[in-house]
Every structure is written in C-alpha cells, then in structure tokens.
C-alpha cells in the first residue's frame, strides 16, 4: 500500500526518521532545497524572479544613494558624518522595528511617533529636577508608560474590534495632546514647552562613545559569537539530518557581518574631532544599544511561540484561530511591544536632542517608521517581514535626510525625495510579485 513498503522487503518497513523522504522531486522549491552554494545561488535568482526579492533592491538602492551623495559632497563619507548618520538613524530604526510587530499582523500603528514622544517626556521629566531620579528609573518610567499605551490601544482594537487604523489615528491625535500637555507642564512657564535633559548618562546614550578598545572588543566578541552560534547550529542540524543551509551561505553571512561590523567600528574609531589635542572617537553607545534590541526582537520573533503566532496570524488568521491560538492576546501583546519599542525610540530621541519638547513631529516620525519597515521589505498585508528590514530601511531614511541636509536641500525637497524612494521600493516589490509564478 505505501510506496515505502513496496520495494523494501523488510516486514512492516518502519520508515526511520533518518531516511529523508526526498528522493522524489515533484516540485522544486528554490529556496531551501539547495545543498551547495551554486544551487543556492541559482535558487536565489529564481526566487528574485518570483518576486521574493527580499532586501536586494533596498541594499542596491542604498548603495546608489550613497554614491550620489558622495559625488555631490565629499564630506558625506567622512568618519564624522557617517558616525553622525548612525546616531541619526537610531530613532528611525527603532520606530521601524516597533512598526514591524503590527505590520506582521496586518495591522498598523499610526501613534508610535507621539507614543515615543510621551515616553521621552516622561523619561526626561523623571530625571529632571526636582525629582532627579536616576537614569534607569527615568528610562523605566518612560518605557512603562509607552507599553501601557500600547496595551490600551491593543485592547481597544481586539476587544472592541475597532480597526487599528482608527484607534491609532486617534492615538496620533490624542498622544500629541498629552505630549503638549506634559511638556508644557514639566517644562515650566519659561521653558516654552521644552524640557532640557541634564542627566549625563541619559545624554551619553547617543552622545557618549565607547572607548576605542571597547569598540574593537565588542566587535570581536560579537562576530565570534555569531560565527560560533551559526556554525554550531549547522553542525548539529547536519548531524541530525535536518535541513541545513549550504556552508557557503553560512560563511557568507558571517563574513558580511564581520565586514559590516569592522567598517562601523573602524569608522567610529577614527578621530572625528576638529581640535587636534581633543580627539573624538569611539562607537556611540546607541549603536550597541540598537543592535542589542534588534537581536532581542529578532529572537523573539523567530524563536518563540509568540513570534510564530504573530507570523501565523498575519498569514492566515483563521488558520491560527483554528489552531487554538488566542488571537486577541497575541495582537494585544504585539501592540504592547510596539509601544515599548516606540518608547525606546523616544528615549533615544530625547538623548540625541539633549531635550524634549512639545514640537516632536510624531506625525512625520510614524510615517518614516512605516516607510522604514516597508522600504526594507515588510509587507503591509501581514505575515512577511523581519526586524532586519527595519534596520536597513531606517538606515536608508536617515541617509537620505543626512545627505540632503549636507547638500543643503530644503525640507521640501527632502520630503519629496523620501516619498519617491518609498514609492520606488514599494513598486519594485509589487512589480516583482506580479511577475511571480506561484503554484497553489
């Protein structure tokens, strides 16, 4: 009766788990079926043709943007400006990562700009006189407020079944009101709605640097850890006859991370000070902070049940429901994490500015956040995306803002160019998908 028992004469041939059922090839999956690098590359090309271009367009786009800016302004690729660019991109990256959680569900959160702003105000005000609370209390306060806001919005969306677009649109308006209220109250009459950040540790989050040696040490430890993790995992899976990516791909990943990390550390460790006697060098604290959050959130999405359910709900909510997943709880948790990550962005923004005011442009920030996630390749329809996409997208947004500022273009031009880049990224994605030849 079964195909396995026919040819083999072993009685009741119990097919062992180690015998991979892959002899018959009915349908070639390009992506994961490759055993060696050449197959993988060929499969990759097929995948791109099928519309799963991943990050390729945006990485190429970033290269083009960098070349254009460098040709216009040679200072663009200087160590000082690039370090500046890294710190500028932190807010966009964090907000983009915040948005990824809800975009994966097929939802959207329009409020995160002002949620971040409120968190920033709470943090700065908590650290400011007369309270003068320590830095970690201040950060905790800001993050708790942001998370609670996320939970409230999530509950309204899931319990009352109001579309997330509407709820967070209300949030966009409402939390700006709260932001102005708090900033005016805490900033005092002569502050003009601006609260200065005086806590040195909070200021150092963005403006402080690791020592040159510490930067290199973090790099070496980080890359070595990444390499050991990947190689050990592959070896384990190969020994157990599980699906393993080709060795070449793993090596390529490690090399890419090592090269990128080396470039960042080398750039940041170059003296960017103007005064010879006072060298300014070192990796800004915000770089490892954002990296850590990125790794944490990536692990949460890819290695926990919660993350799996986020993807499942975004892919097929009905299937997730039938599998016994509590959709409301997962959705609410995702909105809470969006709030939390937005709060982190607010803290970083306050640190970068050295103050926080009622002028935080949360409306633009949230649109940049969505743009960052989408430029990187996150689908607006749910189920497809990664935290890494927000990192790349945030870098693109920051690069455009930075480069156009250097060239001296006006804000109007910056908006228009950013819009075009977003549109181009989304169009490339849509066109590629239209050409896709998916069976099923």
């Amino acid at each position: 009766m079964t195909r396995f028992s026919e040819p083999s004469t072993q009685a009741g041939s119990d097919v062992s788990a180690t015998q991979p059922p892959e002899q018959v090839v009915a349908l070639l999956d390009p992506a994961s079926a490759a055993d060696n690098m050449r197959d993988y590359l060929r499969a990759w090309v097929v995948r791109i043709r099928n519309g799963e271009s991943g990050m390729l367009p945006v990485v190429l786009g970033l290269v083009v943007i960098v070349i254009i800016f460098q040709s216009q302004k040679s200072v663009f690729l200087s160590a000082g400006n690039l370090t500046n660019l890294f710190t500028q991109s932190a807010t966009y990256i964090l907000l983009g990562m915040a948005e990824v959680y809800v975009l994966l569900l097929g939802e959207i959160d329009l409020s995160i700009g002002y949620v971040g702003g409120v968190a920033g105000v709470v943090t700065v005000a908590t650290a400011a006189p007369p309270g003068d609370h320590p830095w970690w209390v201040a950060i905790l306060a800001g993050l708790v407020v942001a998370t609670i806001i996320g939970i409230i919005q999530g509950l309204v969306i899931t319990r009352l079944r109001v579309p997330s677009f509407v709820v967070t649109l209300a949030g966009l308006l409402g939390w700006e009101g709260v932001l102005i209220f708090l900033a005016d109250r805490e900033g005092g009459t002569n502050g003009g709605g601006t609260i200065r950040l005086s806590n040195s540790i909070l200021l150092d989050l963005v403006n402080g640097n690791l020592s040159v040696a510490a930067g290199w040490i973090v790099l070496v430890v980080g890359v070595a850890g990444f390499a050991v993790f990947l190689i050990a995992r592959d070896r384990h899976r190969r020994r157990h006859a599980l699906v393993v990516p080709p060795l070449g791909l793993t090596i390529a990943k490690i090399v890419a991370v090592a090269v990128a990390g080396f470039a960042v550390v080398a750039i940041c460790n170059t003296n960017r000070g103007r005064i010879v006697s006072h060298p300014v060098q070192g990796v800004p604290w915000v770089v490892p902070i954002v990296l850590g959050i990125f790794m944490l959130w990536t692990a949460l999405l890819s290695r926990t049940r919660f993350g799996r359910y986020v993807y499942a709900i975004g892919g097929n909510a009905e299937a997730a429901r039938r599998a016994g997943i509590n959709l409301g709880r997962i959705r609410t948790a995702a909105f809470a994490l969006t709030g939390l990550t937005a709060g982190l962005a607010g803290v970083i923004l306050a640190s970068q500015l050295g103050s926080i005011s009622s002028n935080v442009d949360g409306g633009s920030l949230v649109l940049y956040a969505v743009a960052a996630a989408v430029i990187g390749g996150t689908s607006l329809f749910g189920g497809r995306g990664k935290m890494l996409y927000a990192v790349i997208g945030g870098l693109v947004i920051a690069t455009i803002a930075n480069g156009m500022g250097l060239i001296g273009l006006s804000a109007s031009a910056q908006y228009m160019v950013t819009a075009l880049v977003l549109l181009a990224a989304a169009s490339v994605d849509a066109l590629a998908r239209r050409n896709s030849t998916r069976s099923a």
């Binding site: 079964t2 090839v25 349908l27 992506a31 892919g315 189920g383």
Partner: protein, 292 residues
C-alpha cells in the same frame, strides 16, 4: 439523552447484510459487538432556528475503513462533520466514540478524542513552512524557545510514514506547494496528533489528476494505519476508488448507508438525488438499509 425511536425508522428492512448490519446498536440488528464502530451517532438532530439541518442521523464509522459521506448541496454533510468536529453541538442525539458515549462540545474535545478535521480551505499559513504549519498551535519548546530540531524530525517522520515523498524540503513555505501537497500537509498535521479518525472535506475538489491520485493514496495509507477516515466528496470516481462504506445524506436525513459494493455510479447518483436506494440495483435488498 436517547431519542424516542422514530417508528418509520424501525420499519426499515432488517435483514442483516454482512457489514452494514453488523453492530446496528439501535436495537435493530446486532450480530457483532457495538465496539466495532469507532464512531457511531444515534439520532443526531441539529436545528438552525426553524430549519432542521440534520434529523435523526445514525452514522457509523469503522476504524481502518474509509467512509464516504455523499449528498447534494444542502443535504447536511457540512453540518454533520461540524457536529463531529465540535463546531456545532446537536440538539438531540448521542455520539458513541470507541464504545463510550461522548459529548463533543468544542473543537478541543474533538481533537482530544482523536477526531481531526481537514477542512476544505485546509487552514494553512502560506507564509510559514511545512514544519511550522504542522506544529502550529502545538509547538514544541525547549526552555521557552522553539525546539525546531525536534519539530522538524517529527514532521519528517510523519510525512515519511504517510509516504508523502514529493515534497523536496520540509522547510519550504506552504505557499509554494501544489494543491495536493497542501492537502498532504494538512492531513499530516492532523495525523501527527495521534488521530484516530480523520474527517476530510472535499479533499480532491480543486486538484488535478496526479494530485488527486496522491491524495487518494494518502487516504489509503491512513486506512492501512487503522485510522477511520470520513471523506466528503462530490467526485464519485474518487469515492469508488477509496471508499469502503458509503453514507448518503438527503435533506438532513441519512438516507442510505451501505458498503461500497452495493453501489455503482448510477445507483449512487440515484441515492444522492432521490434519497432512495435504486431498487433495480444489485444486492439492494440484501445489504442495504434504506430509511425514508
């Protein structure tokens, strides 16, 4: 909550055919023990408002056999399997599973008993791979992190046991699979949970020839593993290829229930469209219980 016996039912012909009559536990004919059936429904009635979607249905499903559930649109097939799957609860009647009376109050109760349902839409996530889909909602974890290795091993073993060999990699996204392969993944997902009975709703409806053959093979494999299979299908060709028993619903009533040998294509169509067994058909009087 036994139904008061409907006299018209009792009036049916009661001569014992070898398979169909054995184990009629409603007191009519009993030549074998009641536990021959894995699942037996007695007088299941389900109403939606004033509409009686199912009335007095006595269905019998045996382990290691394929029972085909036939009927025209609106005959009540979907309602019946939803009652078995715990999505609806019938107002009247009794279900006996593995010799014990059970009340299937929810999907979790059904899966707890080992009744797994593969719906027509399959309920798969295209953006997840095969392993991820097979374990959706039942992920294995290792100190709170997903245990991908164990899940992949188990998924692979289940697919191998079902002789699903056409999938190149079990790490490919379900969205990239063919219709038959998707069906196979959905069945494997059901079987992996130690299913004792698998209900399949139109498993071959959207499939081509080769894909259909693959799914029919799959059904045979389930049968050979001692699993009771209840298949809803409109495709009589497929039904005659795999079914051991045929049950025909007509306007909410179980009109005919008989071994597949008692039917040919014509008489099956006759039963579906009229709710009666074709009087001219072979062996009709001997093996068939016709209710109406």
């Amino acid at each position: 909550m036994n139904l008061p016996a409907d006299p018209s039912v009792e009036a049916g012909p009661s001569s014992a055919g070898p398979a169909s009559a054995a184990g009629r536990s409603d007191g009519r004919v009993t030549t074998a023990s009641n536990t021959k059936w894995l699942l037996e429904t007695k007088g299941i009635t389900k109403r939606f408002g004033a509409v009686e979607a199912l009335s007095d249905v006595n269905l019998h499903v045996a382990p290691g056999e394929v029972t085909a559930l036939l009927g025209d649109n609106g005959a009540g097939k979907s309602t019946l399997i939803k009652c078995l799957a715990g999505i609806h609860e019938p107002e009247e009647g009794q279900m006996i599973f593995d010799g014990h009376p059970v009340r299937i109050r929810g999907p979790k109760v059904a899966t707890g008993l080992g009744i797994e349902t593969v719906y027509q839409d399959l309920a798969l996530c295209d953006n997840l791979d095969i392993v991820q889909n097979m374990f959706l909602g039942r992920e294995l974890t290792n100190s709170r992190l997903l245990d991908e290795d164990s899940m992949e091993k188990q998924a692979r073993q289940t697919l191998a046991e079902l002789s699903v060999t056409t999938v190149r990699s079990i790490r490919q996204l379900v969205g990239s699979l063919s219709g038959g392969q998707r069906q196979a993944v959905a069945v494997a997902k059901a079987v992996m949970q130690n299913a004792r009975m698998v209900i399949m709703d139109e498993p071959t409806a959207a499939l081509g020839v080769a894909q259909t053959a693959m799914v029919l093979d799959l059904i045979r494999t389930l049968r050979s593993r001692g699993i009771a299979v209840l298949v809803i299908s409109h495709n009589l060709n497929d039904v005659f290829k795999v079914a051991d028993h045929i049950a025909v619903l007509y306007l909410g009533r179980l009109a005919v229930e008989a071994p597949v040998g008692a039917f040919d294509q014509q008489s099956a169509v006759y039963a579906i469209t009229t709710g009666r067994f074709d009087p001219n058909s072979i062996e009709a009087s001997a093996t068939v219980q016709a209710i109406e």
